[in-house]
Each structure stands twice: as structure tokens, then as C-alpha cells.
């Protein structure tokens, strides 16, 4: 029998200040909504922390705040995104993610039905990834002090032995690979935010990449860098890596996959797909000799069927990322300046 005489009215109810007060209402929300869907042995213990034993070796830890608007978008929602985002940050060290923690900041008045939808999606993403949410926190802020719901997730993972993957590891001569098409997530968000309807529905690529990474490091342990090109897109992430490693890069535009619907939306909005965010793609830099072997492994994985070698690392004291354009000219691919704002003409 339930600890609470009346079940939470998820269908019609809303978050109120008592749900963050630490009292019975909060306990009920946690019980009937969070624990109900995210259920696992550690979470069920109901402690303010999760205790677990770790194996020897190098651990990684990462945290990521999610404030996306709209909360629900084609191809995902803030719940699945909060799981994928942190799993990917962990995975980009080559690590196997083990556990997640989640902190929710809810705005007074937020519909419980929407919250449940988000938590169900989060649970599905965590289950699919095989990484449980083992501890969490809920706070409520007054109406107008939040934007529905913010979710911060933190993850821990363990790095297999023999890996040395880091943003400063790129060396001249290395090959640069990406796992698939660029710009899907950003365009999906922007088109749902602006209510732009395209003939082809553009879905976010939000996905957890740790199984892809596991296959990659298994085949080619000598991978030098891994990073997911989220905010700022491919262009900004490559510039970060070039700067960190003290090298330059040369790309071939024609080899970078961009979906035609994404290309079209970018034309319309005046954006460059190379600067648009991704949530289910990775960049990999590895010794040139291993590139073809790695490409074959990647293409064999469902999340990287369109993987491609897009260029190489070169010596460059100024760390420029240059690109041979599809048109036959060349240009610099610079950092994103400010926000990408739509052009007017």
C-alpha cells in the first residue's frame, strides 16, 4: 500500500512550492514520479547519496546543465538530452560510463504530466544506455524564476587501461574523422522554436555515443582525441582541439556530410551548418595509419553509418583550421563569434 492516502494527480496537477519544501509533498513527488520511473536498487535506498564500489583504475567525472527551449523537440526532449549529454562527455575520454546523478530545478506551475513525460524519457534513455540514475535532487523556484524545468546531470565512468585520449593529443599527420551528418540537432531545435515547417521533418540526432566509443577504442586504442561537437558545432570544436594541441587542420568541405534538409534550413535561416550544434555525433583524431580501419569500425555501428574522414592535422603555429571548399577555393573555418544570428539579406 502506498505511503500516501491520495495518489499524485499527474494528469491534471502542477508543480507547487511544497514539492520543493522537503516535506510530505516532495516525498510523494519523488516516490510516485521520479523513483517510479527511474527505479533501481541504489536509488530505491532513498539516501541523499548513492554508495557504490569502484574498480581500480582511472575514473572520469563530468557534469552538464540542460536549459533547452523548447523542452520537447523532434527527436527528443530535455530528459533524454540530459542523459545523452553527460554520457557523451564521459565517453569522450574513452571511458565506460557507470552511474548518473540528476538535479531538477522545477518552476512553480509546471504541469506534472509534462514532468512525467520528461522523466519517462530520461528513464528510457538511461535504460537503453545501461547506466542508471542513482541519486538526485529536486528544487522548486517561484513562477517566473525558471523556464519550466532545468536538469543538471553528473556522471562517473572508468577508463579502460591503455587509453590516453585528450584534447591536446592531436599530432601533425593525424586523420580527422566525424561520425555522421552535421547540424541536425541545432536545426531541429531552431525550426521548432521558430515554428518553421519544412517538407522533410528534421529530427535531433540526440544519442548516447558510449557504445560507439567502446567499439572504436577496442579496435584502435591509440586514438588521440575524441570530442562531441555540441554548441558551436564542428567548426568551433575543431578550433578548440587545434588550439589545445597546438596544431593546424586542413579539411575538405566535400567530405563533410550535411543532410539536404539541414542544408536547406540553414540556407533559409542564414546559418552555416558547420557552426550548428550536434548531440549525437563525435569527432575523432587518430594516427593516419589507423584511419581506414577505424572508419570501417565506425560505419559498422548504427550511430555512425555515415562516418567520414574529413581532413588531416597539420603543423601550424597559429592553429588555423583551413578548408578546401567544395567550390574549389579555400578559406579559414574560424571560431563562432557571439551567437549565430540570422541574417536579414
Amino acid at each position: 500500500m502506498s505511503r500516501f492516502p491520495m495518489r499524485l494527480d499527474i494528469r491534471r496537477g502542477h508543480v507547487d512550492m511544497s514539492h520543493g519544501s522537503g516535506g510530505r509533498a516532495m516525498a510523494q513527488l519523488i516516490d510516485e514520479l521520479f523513483l517510479h520511473h527511474l527505479d533501481n536498487a541504489l536509488l530505491r535506498q532513498g539516501n541523499d547519496q548513492a554508495a557504490f564500489t569502484v574498480s581500480a583504475g582511472r575514473m572520469v567525472m563530468s557534469t552538464d546543465g540542460h536549459v533547452i527551449s523548447p523542452l520537447f523537440f523532434p527527436g527528443g526532449d530535455i530528459g533524454s538530452l540530459a542523459v545523452h549529454g553527460t554520457l557523451n562527455d564521459i565517453a569522450m575520454s574513452g571511458a565506460k560510463p557507470l552511474y548518473l546523478a540528476a538535479g531538477f530545478i522545477l518552476e512553480e506551475g509546471f504541469p506534472l504530466a509534462d514532468l512525467e513525460r520528461i522523466v519517462i524519457s530520461m528513464a528510457a534513455a538511461a535504460n537503453a544506455a545501461g547506466v542508471p540514475v542513482v541519486t538526485g535532487d529536486t528544487k522548486v523556484v517561484e513562477r517566473g524564476k525558471g523556464d519550466g524545468v532545468f536538469i543538471t546531470t553528473t556522471g562517473v565512468g572508468v577508463v579502460p587501461e591503455g587509453l590516453a585520449i585528450s584534447g591536446d593529443g592531436a599530432r601533425p599527420g593525424d586523420a580527422i574523422l566525424i561520425s555522421g551528418s552535421m547540424g541536425d540537432h541545432g536545426v531541429a531545435i531552431m525550426s521548432s522554436r521558430e515554428n518553421l515547417e519544412f517538407e522533410t521533418r528534421i529530427e535531433s540526432d540526440s544519442a548516447a555515443l558510449h557504445t560507439l566509443v567502446a567499439a572504436m577504442v577496442d579496435a584502435v586504442p591509440e586514438i588521440h582525441c575524441l570530442r562531441d561537437p555540441t554548441r558551436g558545432g564542428l567548426a568551433t570544436t575543431l578550433n578548440e582541439l587545434a588550439q589545445q594541441s597546438g596544431v593546424g587542420m586542413r579539411l575538405r568541405e566535400a567530405t563533410i556530410p550535411v543532410r539536404s534538409a539541414v542544408q536547406a534550413a540553414c540556407e533559409l535561416l542564414g546559418l552555416d551548418p558547420l557552426y550548428v550544434a550536434n548531440e549525437g555525433k563525435l569527432i575523432c583524431i587518430c594516427p593516419a595509419v589507423a584511419a581506414e580501419r577505424l572508419l570501417a569500425v565506425m560505419r559498422n555501428h548504427p550511430l555512425a553509418a555515415e562516418a567520414a574522414i574529413i581532413g588531416e592535422v597539420v603543423e601550424d603555429a597559429e592553429s588555423f583550421v583551413q578548408m578546401e571548399t567544395s567550390f574549389g577555393g579555400s578559406r579559414i573555418v574560424d571560431w563562432l563569434a557571439g551567437e549565430q544570428l540570422p541574417r536579414i539579406c
Binding site: Q263, T325, G329, I332, D334, A337, I344
Partner: protein, 385 residues
């Protein structure tokens, strides 16, 4: 992508490059000003200069609407928000343009000012309808392309009796700016203006038509070729300018014939004429005061004119000291000739207007071409005629 990729094909680019190389007389230089920022953007984004022979140069003109708006007008817009408490609606690229005291609309917004980015004048009208208790001002900027939608919005607001909507009008005219560039006297320490021909605007010309440039081509003896914004359009148009120069012609030709007609969009022109009239003079960043170069709202619509409703003071603010935007906008200096370029002035912290929009000459140099030697990428060559 259909109707786009066709104008970006590499093999066609190579064929055109070969034709340009064959037809360009190697004993002379061809200095072609692309007026529009859209062309500047295409030239840099696709690396078009790399496909040109060394004696064919692009000179980047002032056709970037946010680049030419003087600081004083942005200060006035800020005053509308801070002094009069209006909701200011603006196109996105206006947000980062530097105003006086290193401020911008983006900073005003961060400090609590109600500045909203819109995609069209219709969004601004909607905001006015949704906020009957607030004054809503549309910050109207741009060349002839963006003028008709502003005219339509004013007529709609008039018809609806929308009391809380008004327009801060800053619309400017292209042919007047081209004349101003060609008429500008040589300044001390500046190279002589060296422009052999123009790539004419694409979107602007859809409205005003290619005929609009005929007096200019005749009077100044400069060929004008209306060019589309795709890289193949730019190359084909450059070839057309080169042919005219080789044959001693100075005509208006229309490469962008898939969209632009000789007479332009008559309906749009009529709407604009109903709502706007010429301003006797208007200040341009880089070009100074230019006669008959901008539009203001007609007396019939005076009740929707923000400048009258709020008594907007004319603020004259000087550009940042050392900024070479004025010379760059007139094509007589290159971005790399400016001491501020890449030192204190960058897209993250623009000092001058050319660094603000990706269509500005400085931002394009910085974002797409700064690794090159100054002699590449559109340098103005001296001593060769």
C-alpha cells in the same frame, strides 16, 4: 540541394575560371567592387578569389545594412528603450552593432531593456497587438530589399488603427551610395579610388530593377553587372565586367536574370512610394552625409513615425578613433591596413561596423581569410592601371 547546388558546382567554376584567365588582359588590372555584403560573404565563404587570376581583384563595398548605419542612430534606438521604455523590435544582425560607450542593443537587452529579435515586420506587428499597454517600435533598417515589408507593416498598422505601434525608419538607397563612393574626394593619405566596374546588388535589384543603375553607368563610365549571390553568379558576372572593359563598354547587364527584371517589382515600388519619401540628407557610416540617400515616413503616416512620436533627438556620435571603416567602405583601404584590425577589433569585440556582420569586409577578412598574405584576397593594387 535543388536550385542551390547548381550554382555551386566545382566543374563549372573551373570552366569559368579558365575563361576569365583567358579573357582578362594580363597587361592591366580589373578592380571590381562588389557592392553587397552578400557577394562579399560568397567570395570569402567559397574562396572565389583563389580562382581568379592575380590581376582580377574584388573590392568590398558598403552594401551591408548594419555596417553603414551611423552610431548616432543606434544611440537613438537605445534611447527609445531606456528613456521611453518601448519594446524595440529588430532584425538579429542589428543586436551586436556597437553604439557609443561600447554599448549595443544586446547589452541593453542584458541590462533589462526590452529588445526583441524578429524575423519579419509581421512579428513586430504581432508583438504590438499582444501588448496593447506597451509602445512597440520596429527598428527599420536596410536597403531597398527590406523597405517594402516595412511599408506594408505601416499600412497594416494604419488600417488596423494599431495605436501602440511605430517605426524608427533608417531605410537607405543603393544607387545613391554608389554615387557617393564614386564622387568622394581623395582624402589625405589615402589611395585614389580605383574601381573599374561593379557587381550590382541581387536582392535590391529584384525590387528596383536593373534600369535603376543606368544613369550611374553612363555618367561615371563604369560597367555594372547585376549578380546573383551564389559563387558561380559572382564568377560569371566578373567575366561579364571584364568583357565590357575589354570592349570599352559601360553598360548595365543583368546576370541574375532568373530573378531580376529591368523594371523591378512595380507593386513593391508603389507601396514604398505611398509610405516613404526621400530624406534630403542622411548620415552613412563611412560615407558621411549623402544627399537623397535615405527614406523617411510620409506626413500621411506621421502618427506611426517613432521619430515624431518620441521626439528622437538627432545624436551625432563619432566613430572609434583609428577605425578605418570609412576608407574600407569606400574601397580605398583594406581591412589589414587598419591598425585596429585583429588587435582590438575582432568579431567578438567589434570597434567598427565592418567587423560586426559576417557580410562586413573586416569580419569576412577575419573569419575566412586572415591567414593569407595581404597581396591575396582582394588587395587594392597601386601603380598599375
Amino acid at each position: 540541394m535543388k536550385y542551390i547546388d547548381e550554382f555551386r558546382q566545382r566543374d563549372l567554376a573551373e570552366t569559368l575560371a579558365a575563361a576569365i584567365d583567358r579573357e582578362a588582359d594580363h597587361r592591366r588590372h580589373y578592380r571590381i567592387m562588389e557592392f553587397c555584403g552578400g557577394h562579399t560573404h560568397a567570395i570569402f565563404r567559397y574562396g572565389v578569389q583563389d580562382l581568379m587570376p592575380a590581376n582580377v581583384r574584388f573590392i568590398h563595398g558598403p552594401g551591408c545594412p548594419v555596417c553603414v548605419l551611423p552610431i548616432g542612430r543606434i544611440d537613438s534606438a537605445i534611447a527609445l528603450v531606456e528613456v521611453h521604455g518601448v519594446i524595440l523590435c529588430t532584425y538579429g544582425d542589428m543586436l551586436r552593432v556597437p553604439a557609443s560607450d561600447r554599448r549595443s542593443l544586446l547589452k541593453v537587452k542584458a541590462e533589462g531593456g526590452d529588445v526583441r529579435m524578429v524575423y519579419s515586420t509581421q512579428d513586430a506587428l504581432k508583438i504590438a497587438r499582444d501588448n496593447p499597454g506597451r509602445q512597440v517600435v520596429f527598428f527599420a533598417i536596410g536597403f531597398e530589399t527590406t523597405t517594402p515589408p516595412t511599408a506594408v507593416a505601416l499600412q497594416q498598422a494604419q488600417a488596423e488603427g494599431l495605436q501602440n505601434f511605430s517605426v524608427f525608419c533608417n531605410h537607405v538607397l543603393t544607387p545613391a551610395a554608389m554615387r557617393a563612393i564614386l564622387d568622394a574626394p581623395q582624402r589625405a593619405g589615402e589611395a585614389a579610388l580605383a574601381i573599374d566596374g561593379f557587381l550590382g546588388p541581387s536582392h535590391v535589384s529584384t525590387i528596383i530593377g536593373s534600369h535603376a543603375y543606368a544613369p550611374l553607368a553612363r555618367r561615371y563610365g563604369k560597367p555594372v553587372v547585376i549578380a546573383g549571390f551564389e559563387p558561380l553568379d559572382v564568377m560569371q558576372s566578373a567575366l561579364m565586367v571584364i568583357r565590357q572593359l575589354n570592349e570599352g563598354r559601360c553598360e548595365v547587364e543583368n546576370e541574375y536574370s532568373r530573378v531580376v527584371t529591368a523594371e523591378g517589382n512595380r507593386k513593391a515600388q508603389a507601396r514604398v512610394a505611398e509610405v516613404f519619401e526621400l530624406r534630403p540628407t542622411f548620415e552613412w557610416r563611412g560615407l558621411g552625409l549623402v544627399a537623397d540617400s535615405a527614406l523617411r515616413i510620409r506626413p500621411e503616416y506621421a502618427n506611426l513615425d517613432a521619430e515624431q512620436r518620441f521626439e528622437v533627438a538627432a545624436i551625432s556620435a563619432s566613430d572609434v578613433k583609428g577605425c578605418e571603416c570609412p576608407s574600407i567602405l569606400r574601397g580605398v583601404k583594406r581591412p589589414v591596413d587598419c591598425k585596429l584590425f585583429g588587435t582590438v577589433c575582432s568579431p567578438e569585440n567589434p570597434m567598427g561596423s565592418c567587423m560586426v556582420s559576417s557580410e562586413g569586409a573586416c569580419a569576412a577578412y577575419w573569419s575566412y581569410g586572415r591567414f593569407r598574405q595581404p597581396d591575396d584576397a582582394g588587395a587594392v593594387q597601386e601603380g598599375v592601371a
